[in-house]
């Protein structure tokens, strides 16, 4: 059985778990390639024009997969913790995919939901997905726990400063002697990248901003590197808790970076027309201003961004940081 997974959105957070689980149950996991211009074009051509860039790219990924797989894995992530939702677009993601792309292989679109009366915890979700491929519930449980272990390794590696690509590689095939591409070592100044995992880690969507920063001699630390406990501690300072999981991570990590004297500047990555980030960023910039004046830059991405525009803004921002240091 070939199961397709799109390299977009929550792939950047949950792939080790998804892949391990499905492979342990004997599925062949087909992952789409890195985001390409063609994918974004194709996604944008079927999507409603005001949808955000990551969703358009996601639809493009589905296009590239749909003829090669028997099943598509498009879970409906409603909420992953009791006091927070995901973005409304995730709540309707399988329905959006099903109503824009036709024909389509069957979708695995069970919900994950920790809210309300129709609770569906993660373990229940995987039990249900597992039942599609295997009757033996012990085997399903084992596959799930195996996946969880890899997922934990992945997140721990990320939180200790390992880059996304390396963490993914290491967690899926443990090995020695890997050289870290990014790290918090060295005397180079550090920039904090704040954004959703699918922005910060997709070099096509963000025009390889971390590569650009590193080429100019900066260390990069991202939202993914901040632990959950720290996110909760930082976002607990707000007058009202942020009820979006990724929103909370972004606010929490931005405040964490603002407190950290090693972090010389904060860059926020957001989509054009992103509803949540308009509020999150308003809160972040308000608090960061109060906390000690770390320079902040907010970059809004859409499918029309060019490298040149990004370079100009980055250089101006790095000039500000450089001037502050001296």
């Amino acid at each position: 059985m070939k199961v397709g997974i799109a390299r977009g959105l929550l792939y950047y957070r949950y792939f080790p778990l998804w892949q391990t689980f499905l492979q342990e149950l004997g599925c062949e996991v087909i992952l789409s390639t890195q985001t390409t211009k063609e994918m974004v074009r194709q996604g944008a051509s079927v999507a409603v024009s005001d949808l955000c860039l990551p969703i358009k790219a996601y639809l493009g990924h589905i296009f590239s997969l749909k003829d090669r797989v028997d099943l598509l894995f498009v879970p409906r992530y409603i909420s992953i913790e009791e006091d927070a939702y995901m973005c409304p677009k995730f709540l309707g993601l399988p329905d959006m995919v099903a109503s824009t792309i036709d024909p389509l292989p069957p979708l695995i679109d069970y919900p994950i939901n920790y809210k309300g009366r129709k609770k569906m915890t993660e373990s229940l979700f995987y039990e249900k997905v597992g039942k599609l491929f295997c009757r033996d519930s012990r085997k399903i449980r084992e596959a799930y726990h195996m996946g969880l272990r890899r997922q934990d390794t992945f997140r721990c590696l990320q939180q200790s400063g390992v880059s996304f690509e390396n963490a993914m590689e290491l967690s899926l095939s443990p090995q020695d002697g890997i050289t870290f591409r990014r790290g918090m070592h060295g005397s180079q100044p550090t920039i904090g990248l704040v954004g959703r995992p699918y922005y910060v880690n997709d070099p096509f969507l963000n025009k390889d901003i971390s590569g650009k920063l590193m080429a100019r001699g900066y260390n990069v630390i991202t939202t993914d590197c901040v632990t959950e406990a720290e996110v909760n501690r930082q976002s607990g300072k707000l007058s009202k808790r942020v009820y979006w999981s990724f929103g909370k991570e972004m606010v929490g990590s931005a405040l964490h970076f603002a407190e950290d004297p090693e972090v010389k500047g904060i860059i926020n990555l957001a989509s054009f027309g992103c509803g949540q980030d308009s509020f999150n960023w308003e809160i972040v910039s308000h608090h960061v201003k109060r906390m000690g004046n770390t320079p902040v830059l907010s970059l809004i991405f859409d499918e029309h961004w060019t490298d040149g525009g990004l370079n100009t803004r980055l250089e101006a921002f790095l000039d500000v940081i450089g001037r502050k240091k001296s």
Binding site: A84, G92, D95, M96, T100, L238, Y243, G273, G275, E282
Partner: protein, 367 residues
């Protein structure tokens, strides 16, 4: 305490007199205008939605006219509306206004709403608070009922503007009914007035369903009064959301009205299987329901960058193809001009009229 609540349709008529009667100083700022929106836009995040900007502008005007307490319900997602109170509080405090921002802990819970009423009205007994809250809800539902009757009667009236006069009279009567018996009597009287309106006996009017985000569908200053303009052009307007129905889903005060969210989700099920926040489920479900009841066209309105309605819009594209019902999507932001909206509506109405003529079938009954 001088309390002010941003405008939303006829909500202010429902609560103002009642709260004043129990001694609350209610400030009603001027009705939102272009200037209000400009004011709100100036201090809002760029991608905040139109309701946010408009209510922020209204709050500033209320504070300027002497209010020192503002109520914004708040909530806990997934729509942005739940976070309005925190962000607006932060922006207004940064501008230097001194006031308290009141919000209900969780506006979907009765106990939190009663607690809020206690803070506002200062009543002690739970029974008193309960009565106060439910009486406001009853007045609101009476007002919505009047407006619904207006939308069905207006396109059929024989004497121009008779319905408008009845509407004005009815709203005044309901506004002045401050007890349950008088409200019930008022409803009978209003019903009588509406029945007495002389109707024309010619073609069935076009029917257009207005669906979308609650604030945009209900607040005339946000949607440029699109519903009234359609009604005046002789078109029957159905709306997917009413404030009293929306509240009824939560507080069950209309015994004969079904839970609209459940109703919508039953109809929407093949297309949208879980509410994506806001009014996405109502938008999809009611479009399908309206189409089954023989609506001629649907106008989908929502603010620019509205997340739930974008999900609905994506799905409605398929619904439109499957059910063969024309949908016009109007996205509002601070740059929207009434002229541009009118042009698009005119073209849409032309299309609907032509569709009906070309089919030549008698109009299906129901509604």
């Amino acid at each position: 305490m001088k309390l002010s609540v941003p405008y939303l349709g006829m909500l202010h008529i429902a609560y103002a007199r009642i709260l004043r009667n129990v001694g609350v100083d209610v400030v009603l700022p001027p009705k939102p205008t272009r200037k209000t929106l400009d004011l709100g836009t100036r201090y809002s995040p760029e991608f905040a939605c139109l309701p946010f900007k408009l209510t922020l502008g209204t709050m500033i005007e209320a504070l300027e006219s002497g209010a020192d307490a503002i109520f914004m319900p708040g909530g806990f997602g997934p729509c942005r509306f739940g976070y309005y109170d925190a962000v607006q509080n932060q922006i207004l405090k940064e501008l230097g206004y001194q006031f308290t921002m009141g919000s209900a802990g969780n506006p979907d819970r009765l106990s939190d709403m009663l607690e809020l009423m206690r803070r506002i009205a200062g009543l002690r007994t739970r029974a008193g608070l309960f009565m106060l809250f439910y009486f406001i809800l009853m007045r609101l539902s009476a007002l919505d009922w009047v407006l619904k009757r207006y939308f069905t009667t207006k396109p059929r009236e024989a004497v121009p503007n008779e319905t408008d006069q009845v509407l004005r009279k009815s709203v005044q009567l309901i506004d002045s009914s401050v007890s349950v018996p008088s409200l019930l009597r008022a409803r009978l009287k209003v019903s009588h007035w509406f029945r007495k309106i002389a109707l024309r006996n010619d073609d069935a009017p076009l029917r257009i369903g207005i669906i979308g985000e609650l604030f945009m569908v209900l607040e005339p200053s946000a949607n440029t009064g699109i519903d009234m303009r359609l009604a005046r052009r002789g078109i029957e307007v159905w709306k997917s959301v009413w404030l009293s129905d929306w509240l009824n889903d939560r507080f069950r005060f209309k015994p004969f009205t079904r839970n609209q969210l459940k109703l919508s989700s039953r109809h929407a099920h093949p297309y949208l299987r879980y509410p994506a926040g806001g009014e996405s489920m109502e938008s999809v479900g009611k479009t399908i329901l309206f189409a089954k009841r023989g609506v001629d066209g649907i106008i989908h309105i929502f603010p620019f960058t509205c997340m739930p309605e974008l999900v609905a819009q994506t799905i409605l594209a398929k619904v439109q193809r499957d059910l063969d019902v024309p949908i016009l999507t109007l996205i509002f932001d601070e740059h929207t001009a009434q002229g541009a909206i009118d042009t698009r509506i005119e073209a849409f109405i032309d299309l609907l009229e032509r569709r009906r003529r070309s089919r030549g079938t008698p109009h299906p009954k129901g509604g």
